[in-house]
Amino acid sequence: MKWIDFARGTLRIAITGAYPQSCLNRMAALRLQFWDIVKRNDLCVEVTIYRAHLKAAEQAAGRSMCEVTVLDEQGILVKFAGLRRRPVLLLGLAAVLALVFWTQQFLWTIEVEGNESVPSDQIRYSLAELGVRPGVRWQDLDPQRLENRMLDRIPALSWFTINANSARATVLVKERIPIPDLVETREPTNVIATQTGIIESMEVYDGVPMVEKGQTVVQGQLLVSGLTTPWRTTVLHHAMAEVYARTWRTAEMISTKEMTAKTLSREVQTSWRLVVGNKLMKISGDSRISEAGCVKMITSYPLMLPGGITLPITLERVEIQSYTTEQVPRDPTALQERLMSAYLQAVRADMVAGLVHSSDGTLSEEGACWRLWAVCECTEQIGALSPILLETKEDERG
């Protein structure tokens, strides 16, 4: 059935009489639409008409000495006829539709696109300070004013715009490209070693190499000199080089033997609350911590639409548990793992470039402490620029 027929509603009628064809002729002359004409017998013809044409069809049948009987009804009114007996449901449907239309004029979600290093939360927080937050009317937003203020608040952004459409706003940003570090090549420098190690590779861009591959160097040793003396003159260079060496880094870490551990009680106080936008609504229980020595855990269940769109409506479960503290001995194995992991992280952060080949640690007991002695073998870039200090003698200037 076509949608238009469904919306208008159709009736399947039977025209009964001595000469049902005359009724069909009258209906055609009256420009009444009918279709699916089926002749049951000499005295009965079935057709389908629109519900609105029933009265006219009955009049045409009356004039043709025929009778019209409705056999079947189809259409939207038949489909939802049961709703007439449920006025509250109808009212509820109408209220929901009205609510949907009314809420469309407010902003509910703000999405940020185009950012890489600037966190989306920072952008949302800055927008909230400027009055752009879930629950405001999106027609009141002034993109030009927001752009000027946001670029002023977050200097890392070079371009900003906001597109608000119905309940959703999309913030598009572009970050500034940071100015690269300029290398001052006029300053005379040497390249010295930052770590003790064995040279594995050297790539000298400027200056005179003072060491070679396979040589052992100590921290602070001159690797590449920026001073040259060609043809009895002295020329100062800005020495530059990449020197990779095999190094062995060591460290000593100390930790107490005991630590403070929390033991949670079995009793859990649970409460529920609903968060709509920025508004908090208590549903049940009390989510406040009434005494010291309690842990509060909040589990959030945001309302999401199909397609991954998150609405600013979140159901939160708050669980409060009290705890007692006590001193417990540290597990040596876990302690060693944790300390080694932190140590390797620090080594990698300290390196200019390179990698860690292997690491090892020894944990020993010393009184009330654990002492970890760690060593790691690395290949890293150890060359660093060191300015050449020039002294001028006053008596020569004299």
């Binding site: 002729n25 055609a28 639409q33 004409i37």
Partner: protein
Amino acid sequence: MQKTPRTLVALASERLNLPAEATAGLVKVEIVGGRLSVVNHKGVGAFGPEYMELLTREGVIHVRGTGLALVVMNHMELVITGHIGSVELP
């Protein structure tokens, strides 16, 4: 013979190469495969799966065949489908 206004209209339509069924209200009968279409009809007389009478201004068109069905009927056009054996024009 004095030409009636309708006849004059029909003649003019023919001379001017205009569709006569649209201008003069003449009957147009079109058969395409198993589909018979009649424009400017006056209704149906008898109709059944083997015989149908179509009323027009010029007279009655008798349609004989098998499996005849009246599929479309409105104030302008009437369409019959089925295996059309013969069509007698008035």
